[in-house]
Symmetry: C2
DNA sequence: ACAATAAAAGACAAAAACATCCTTATTTAA
DNA sequence: TTAAATAAGGATGTTTTTGTCTTTTATTGT
């Protein structure tokens, strides 16, 4: 509902990569996709987008793969989501009206705005690292073995 | 983000029909679509779904059209949304994990659950009629003329 | 240098969402 | 009782999203 498949895979992949970022080895796309149960090539494309947006780092060649810098680990989820879904996604009218505004609101405007703020707050208040830590400490899961 | 196009059109159409429900004449699909700026045939199909689900009433033939009973006007938005998007939409995992649960939650589980509850509350707390009234009193708009 | 490895990039395919058009069934006014 | 009106239903088309496959480019260990 909230996220597209693209966004779901992107978040899951980023969190997995983050969870591996203590290791010195970089993480390959194959390993990532196995651990988040996402389609190989499709996910690779999403990671390209994130890499272009400097939310991930990557290296080609032998022993290459994906990894995250300390700075990247500290990015809040909202940055990921906006990179994938586009910045507008969190400001568009809930009923899809082009002209919806404070002055001429749709019938759902205020209620929707408040929900949207909740969502923004959630996405701003959680970093990739936060989620990775919850994985590492066994408090959360991306895959049930 | 929150709603599909199908759902947006469905809500807008229902609200428009509701806003016309004081009149004795029923409202035709043509008029509805003009006033909510939605595609004619596509919207007609959505209204079929809502009618089958008894969220709208319709009548064929001369002077036919769509209308809503007092009871239908009192339905909360959540019923509309569930009829269109499916009941599961408001209980699925935010990261798209099949196995996500309280016991084995995804890294976003609790935050997402709280957002979802907000959304449910909003959708349960607003009736079609509420939205129609805001239209009728000029407090809200579906179309800017 | 060279072979192996891994991400990047591009072309293509399938499925789902969105949208249109045409026919059918029903109702009613004349 | 018939013609017109209007929703319902079915077939089809388009676009977007999701997914795969192949080739290219960069990197590195030997």
């Amino acid at each position: 509902m909230l996220f597209s498949k693209t966004c779901e895979y992107g978040i899951r992949a980023a969190v997995y990569i983050a969870s591996q970022s203590d290791k010195t080895e970089k993480t390959g796309i194959e390993e990532i996709c196995e651990n988040i149960e996402a389609p190989r090539h499709f996910t690779a494309k999403i990671l390209q987008i994130l890499t272009r947006n400097h939310l991930l780092s990557s290296q080609k060649g032998v022993n290459g793969g994906f990894y995250m810098t300390a700075e990247q680990l500290q990015q809040p989820m909202i940055v990921l989501v906006e990179a994938i879904e586009g910045k507008e996604v969190l400001s568009k009218c809930g009923l899809g009206l082009k002209a919806c505004s404070e002055v001429e609101p749709c019938p759902l405007h205020n209620k929707y705005a408040s929900i949207r703020n909740n969502i923004k707050q959630m996405l701003s208040g959680v970093t990739i690292k936060d989620m990775a830590v919850s994985l590492q400490t066994g408090k959360a899961f991306l895959k049930i073995d």
